[in-house]
């Protein structure tokens, strides 16, 4: 019974595919998984938007949407109908073809990322050897769609937003990769399925998740920072800072194309949360060994939604960074710390089992972060901004 519930989607798929003639079965299996991904995550997107608007509303001491349906829970449907029926405006001087292609490239690339994220036991679309590499290479190509949107709109705010977005995404991609490499070094595999399976072990009922190691804890914090920046979420939302750039690179988009950008952004959040879950939070494994009977997909989606809630919380709490702070933070703090994390993980790997590696690795991380805090937070570093070109 328990294992049936755990594998219910896999069994359902096999049953549905089994109804077809055997020639069509492989294609139908893939198609069914793709349809499931394409349906589940936009539905989750609608839910998350409502959650975010309600949650942010509470944090800002207001009610949030409360007119459509009881407690405003039908708001996503109203939003969808609105964006579908709105006029699609393309600026006269815009580059029509690229303007049209940009949201499509973004959404297609983001959907592709879900292909390798393990969402439960045996629940992954493609279990390939280099799935982590696949994820990052697809993630890198979303930058181009952002540029296409900003450039083709012929609007200076769009272009500035796109330049900021691309610069930010390139800068934070380096620490994102570096913090993930630590996990690869320990697991010895680039396959996300294998990485999750390696964490699905228990000692005294407690899991072997990477976050519960000194390097994993520090690495997860760095990964979370880089992931927030990579998805252009507050406090790293300079590319679409409303007070400076209208809406950044999608200023000139309206109607359903705007909705596609919105969807792409949230799907990016889901996929990067799924990646972080697989790398550091044990993927679909249960947090305690006595909870083994809860289906694996509940754990995966629970962890992803928890990450999303933290992202919403951070958005409601922190003010936006300045461009120079953003770059300094990436190159002078996050990147060196992830490099140190690589050294720490190598120590962890070669000190072998036992208490010694816990002491040594924790000490290295603690000393590094305390030293960084003591030097970085000195008051003489923080002063008025100096302009190089604008004076």
């Amino acid at each position: 019974m328990v294992s049936t519930l755990d594998q219910i989607f896999v069994l359902l798929k096999h049953w549905l595919v089994g109804l077809l003639p055997s020639v069509l079965q492989p294609a139908a299996g893939v198609l069914l998984s793709v349809v499931a991904i394409v349906c589940v995550f936009p539905a989750l997107f609608a839910l998350t938007v409502l959650l975010e608007r309600k949650g942010l509303g509470r944090m800002q001491n207001r009610l949030g949407p409360n007119r459509v349906g009881p407690f405003g829970i039908l708001q996503p449907i109203a939003d969808a109908i609105k964006s579908l029926t709105k006029e699609d405006i393309v600026p006269l001087r815009a580059d029509a073809l690229i303007h049209f292609l940009a949201p499509l490239v973004l959404v297609v690339a983001v959907f592709l990322e879900f292909a390798v994220v393990p969402m439960g036991r045996n629940m992954v679309l493609v279990d390939m050897d280099a799935s982590l590499l696949f994820f990052f290479s697809i993630g890198a190509s979303t930058e181009l769609s952002v540029f296409m949107a900003g450039w083709s709109s012929r609007n200076k705010y769009s272009l500035m937003g796109a330049m900021r977005a691309v610069a930010q995404m390139i800068s934070y991609e380096v620490p994102l990769l570096m913090s993930s490499v630590a996990v690869v070094m320990i697991t010895g595999s680039l396959s996300l399925v294998k990485i999750v399976e390696a964490q699905n072990q228990y000692t005294y009922g407690l899991p072997h998740w990477n976050i519960f190691t000194p390097w994993g804890c520090a690495g997860f914090v760095m990964f979370a920072i880089a992931a927030t920046a990579e998805t252009n979420r507050s406090p790293f939302d300079l590319p679409e800072g409303e007070s400076e750039l209208v809406a950044g690179y999608f200023t000139e988009y309206s109607g359903f194309k705007f909705a596609l950008f919105f969807l792409g952004e949230y799907l990016g959040m889901f996929s990067i949360s799924g990646l972080g879950t697989a790398l550091f939070l044990g993927g679909w494994s249960a947090p305690f060994s006595f909870l083994w009977w809860v289906p694996s997909w509940i754990w995966f989606f629970g962890k992803v939604m928890l990450s999303i809630c933290v992202l919403i919380w951070v958005r409601g709490t922190l003010p936006r960074l300045r461009q120079d702070q953003l770059m300094n933070f990436a190159w002078k703090f996050v990147l060196p710390m992830t490099l140190l994390n690589l050294v720490d993980v190598a120590l962890w790997r070669f000190l072998g089992e036992g208490w010694l590696r816990w002491v040594v690795c924790s000490a290295v991380m603690l000393v590094a972060y305390v030293a960084a805090a003591l030097t970085g937070l000195r008051r003489d570093h923080i002063g008025p901004r100096s302009y190089r070109y604008a004076e």
């Binding site: 690229i98 390939m128 050897d129 280099a130 590499l133 696949f134 990052f136 290479s137 697809i138 993630g139 890198a140 190509s141 930058e143 181009l144 540029f147 296409m148 450039w151 272009l159 330049m163 691309v166 390139i170 991609e173 010895g188 595999s189 680039l190 190089r388």
Partner: protein, 166 residues
């Protein structure tokens, strides 16, 4: 040689041609990206996962962005008045044709020299990693040092301006 190959080859060639023939420089850069993507898909079609994904990561994620940034930061994407075609395009065409002929000749000549294997060798990413950090660790480190030196050099060149203005 199947349908997938011809579709991908066509995409790559069309992207390359568009990159040379289009008038707007940003369009050229995007067409070049299409050619890069076609090459990456060709690698993937040959079951070379690492090469394919590295091609996407490096060429689409970094090189294309760099090209686009260089275009935007230097002279803008407006087409110059005297056209984008060089006056010496005939000589350029001759050189390109010569290079293509030599490469094609070399490829055709080397085909019989290869040993005939019944099945394509399976190379996993794991094996590539072990080879890079085992047998080929010295070249890898030299390349890494070179790139770091280039990075530091680029920063120094970029920082030079600040000292002059002060």
């Amino acid at each position: 040689m199947n349908l997938v190959f011809y579709v991908l080859a066509g995409l790559t060639v069309l992207g390359g041609l568009a990159a040379v023939l289009l008038k707007n420089t940003v369009h050229c850069a995007l067409a070049l990206t299409v050619a890069f993507a076609g090459l990456a898909l060709l690698f993937l079609e040959l079951d070379a996962q690492f090469a394919g994904f590295a091609q996407i990561l490096v060429y689409i994620g970094a090189v294309a962005i760099l090209v686009v940034f260089a275009i935007l930061l230097t002279r803008g994407s407006e087409t110059p008045e005297d056209g984008v075609f060089s006056h010496t395009w005939l000589a350029g065409l001759a050189v390109a044709a010569a290079v293509f002929a030599v490469l094609g000749w070399a490829v055709i000549q080397s085909a019989p020299a290869l040993t005939h294997e019944s099945a394509a060798p399976v190379v996993t990413v794991n094996q590539i990693g072990n080879a890079l950090l085992g047998r080929y660790v010295l070249p890898l480190e030299i390349v890494a040092l070179l790139l770091t030196a280039a990075l530091v050099g680029a920063v120094i060149v970029a920082m030079h301006e600040k000292e002059e203005t002060k």
